[in-house]
Symmetry: C2
Subunit: 173 residues, 2 copies
């Protein structure tokens, strides 16, 4: 019931959450991303019940984030690969890593490092503007209603037409 509701909101955040909002989904994605693709491997690696895993995999296949492939028959065995839609969702995971490394890793440091193929450096992703290439964070933008701002409780439904979010600085915790 809640799933439908989030997906129906005119908000790309709510709709994205509708696909990966359940806690195991991003970890399943992460594992498929690093090559842990078979049902039994996924189950052993994540330590979840077969029932929950099967249910989540079914959902991710339905959402066209993963594709299912039979790699053995008698009995049938399946592995899962990322679709283009799923591959691009992994870019989102890289940003979760960036935030998590910065705010949750503590003194132990990042659990995983990422080496960029193009330059060979251990690095992390940074958000840049698709138009000018400059740094672009949530405090650097105005939020405006878009063409799809029709239904549901989205920012564009608020009284103000334009919300300049860069004016109010963050507060210290």
């Amino acid at each position: 019931m809640q799933r439908t509701r989030f997906g129906d909101m005119a908000c790309s955040i709510a709709r994205t959450w509708d696909v990966i909002g359940e806690p195991w989904s991003p970890l399943i994605l992460r594992n498929v991303y690093v090559g842990i693709r078979r049902f039994d491997q996924l189950q052993a690696s994540l330590g979840i019940s077969r029932k929950v895993l099967a249910e989540r995999l079914r959902w991710l296949v339905e959402a066209e984030v993963l594709a299912r492939r039979e790699y053995a028959s008698r009995p049938a065995r399946y592995e899962y690969t990322l679709t283009q839609k799923g591959t691009e969702l992994c870019d989102l995971l890289l940003f979760m890593v960036r935030w998590g490394d910065r705010w949750t890793a503590g003194e132990a440091g990042p659990p995983v490092l990422y080496r960029h193929h193009a330059c060979g450096e251990i690095s992390h992703v940074e958000p840049r503007c698709s138009a000018c290439g400059g740094p672009m964070s949530a405090t650097d933008v105005d939020v405006l209603p878009g063409p799809g701002a029709k239904t549901g409780p989205a920012p564009a439904d608020e009284p103000e037409d334009q919300l300049s979010v860069g004016d109010s600085g963050p507060t210290s915790a």
Copy 2:
């Protein structure tokens, strides 16, 4: 119980999920980000119960993502602002928007547009490498164990020391 478990994994994705894994949290963050900061406004805007909202706000304040401020007394009324940790979490929301706009908006188009202060263009975030500035997606990196790769089911616990994920292309859905 599950909360503790995800937060204990040596994985920045799991740990980030531990903070914002519950479906309402990113939408609460989104609303505070666009200026809907008061409890009553948040409740009306999201259409959730006061109990659930209070519980989620308490968690986000405990996690130091939001800070609570009394803006009226007798009776006490509170508003919520983003901490630095929360502001940076909104950068992650921008990436959710990017993916959601691309894969869930359909023919109606994006519900919300973002205008970059620096260049004045309607644009979206793109992931770039912090070292060389070049495009950096999940298919452009090697995944290596980091200093914090100690506990829990993280990619680094897998047999292979290094996982080059760029070799296996995405599969069509």
